[in-house]
Symmetry: C2
Subunit: 329 residues, 2 copies
Amino acid sequence: MTPKIRISDVAAIAGVSTATVSRALSTPERVGKDTREKVLKAVRATGYRINAAARDLRQRRAGSILILAPNLSNTFFSRIFAAIQEEASAAGLIVQISDSRIGREKLATLGHDGRADGIILLDGGLDPELVNGWRLPVIQLCEWNAAYDAPVLTVDNSAAAGLAVEHLAGLGHRNLLHIEGPEGNVLATTRRDGFLKAVGDAGIDSAVFEGDFTMESGARAAHRWAALDRRPTGVFCASDECAIGFISEAIRLGFDVPGDVSVVGFDDIEFADRFNPSLTTIHQPREAIGRTGAQYLIGMLSDDGTPTAPDYSIAAHLVTRVSTGPAPQ
Amino acid sequence: MTPKIRISDVAAIAGVSTATVSRALSTPERVGKDTREKVLKAVRATGYRINAAARDLRQRRAGSILILAPNLSNTFFSRIFAAIQEEASAAGLIVQISDSRIGREKLATLGHDGRADGIILLDGGLDPELVNGWRLPVIQLCEWNAAYDAPVLTVDNSAAAGLAVEHLAGLGHRNLLHIEGPEGNVLATTRRDGFLKAVGDAGIDSAVFEGDFTMESGARAAHRWAALDRRPTGVFCASDECAIGFISEAIRLGFDVPGDVSVVGFDDIEFADRFNPSLTTIHQPREAIGRTGAQYLIGMLSDDGTPTAPDYSIAAHLVTRVSTGPAPQ
DNA sequence: CTGAAAGCGCTTACAG
DNA sequence: CTGAAAGCGCTTACAG
């Protein structure tokens, strides 16, 4: 590695002080024309780049935001991360990512170690005391926890579950199954409660099977469903992955989708449209969630961390595809 | 936000110097027992946490590694990122992510701004001059560019393409189609050349359609394939997404998979196993690639950046599922 | 074992 | 318009 060039090297070559080099680079209008040119020439000659870490320390900022998500390998997050990164980059901020389940001590440190200016949290399952102890602006995306002292940006999960039920009821289904998300997860709870409220309102029979958002849990639920005497003809899954697991396993068991059973997912992941049969699902605007969330956090950074805006809800809608159809006779 | 606590605050409360506080925290064995306890008490009372940004500046390191990938919303990367993050976290390093197509100037800065100790590069399409100008250890993962002066960790893409051809030939297919990746991409080129070599060796008819790894490109290729007079009965796609797009569109056009056409993908993404029909594909061990790559880069950091190890190849293998079967008569 | 001082590489009031 | 000096929050030879 060639040795790094510092501002003092540039200053020496240009024959000026480091203060002048600094100004020539950050506020060129406050430097004389000749001096500025001498400095820029020295910068070009050396290939000097500002050491952002040193600048940020001096300016008492970190120059970056941190994304915390419960499982980085979950493909649901990809588009959200991409949108956040774009917004951050436009604002001159670096994006850090970490799994939010890295352990209490490491997690506690993240909010105090001077390496991030703010946190985007996609995990509602952390200890509120820990989260509220962070001395940084925090925004919650998708998942949330009412005990966190931080604004939330998410879709109305309960209402969205209602859309799924209405859709199935409109197709004549009178007996619905919900495969829920993991116990204790706020999305799981909200979607299930929305389902139960909607079936109650519509006077439709219903059942709930446990699940955990994964394809495997959907496949397991398919076996349990197949073994029932009186099988529900419509299934609302708490996630697209769960729905894909359910459908693929139901087909392997010899059932037809949507001939024998209609299935609705949640999320509208990339593959929903290309799955066979293509998946009727609730569209979550992940790009918009990431983008808006990042913009909001960035706003909080310049506004001194005061979360002025209220919780913000983004519209979710139903996308009708092939996995749902009229109830069988 | 409550004001941040500095090491000098702790020192004042404990009645010692900041040097002693620093030692009590980083090398406690070099501090007297009583002193150490006084310091730790003050740390607990204040909730002090070391400012990692200041520590790192003093120690002339960044304490983080940077992942650069051409498209963060590509779900292929998720598991790789997760593995990298785990390894980095174990080594006390933060993980930064950025899209590698953020623009030449920003990209150039990343290798010089003191915010990263090393770079994991998943993009073989950047300007070599720019990449080689970075004053940081770099490792290439999955994609590579021979003009980059950095070690590579990837699978043998050409040999893997050969496995796909052998598999189809073994099922009796005598006319194969390859849907390639984007022009100029090293993975696309290597997989295509591996395909062409294998069909040549086996004396099998072949054709190549253009594509770009996406589901849309697979769907477009399906239309083009369907319009042929003498349709190839076996298709090797440069990615799973492309294969999924091809199959879903072929089915919509009324064909049966694998009855009318067998399809092989590349990557073995999570959905390959649950797609309908489940997808025969080349398994890329993404977890291992991420983990090994991170370990290697971390090794380079402590070894003063000298890339001692040679390029490293990870084994890929064929996973046989339902999307391939005997050639139709 | 402990402290005073220097320094990581910058920026920014403060003078002039 | 420019420079000398202080300081961001730490760590680490150097003394004692």
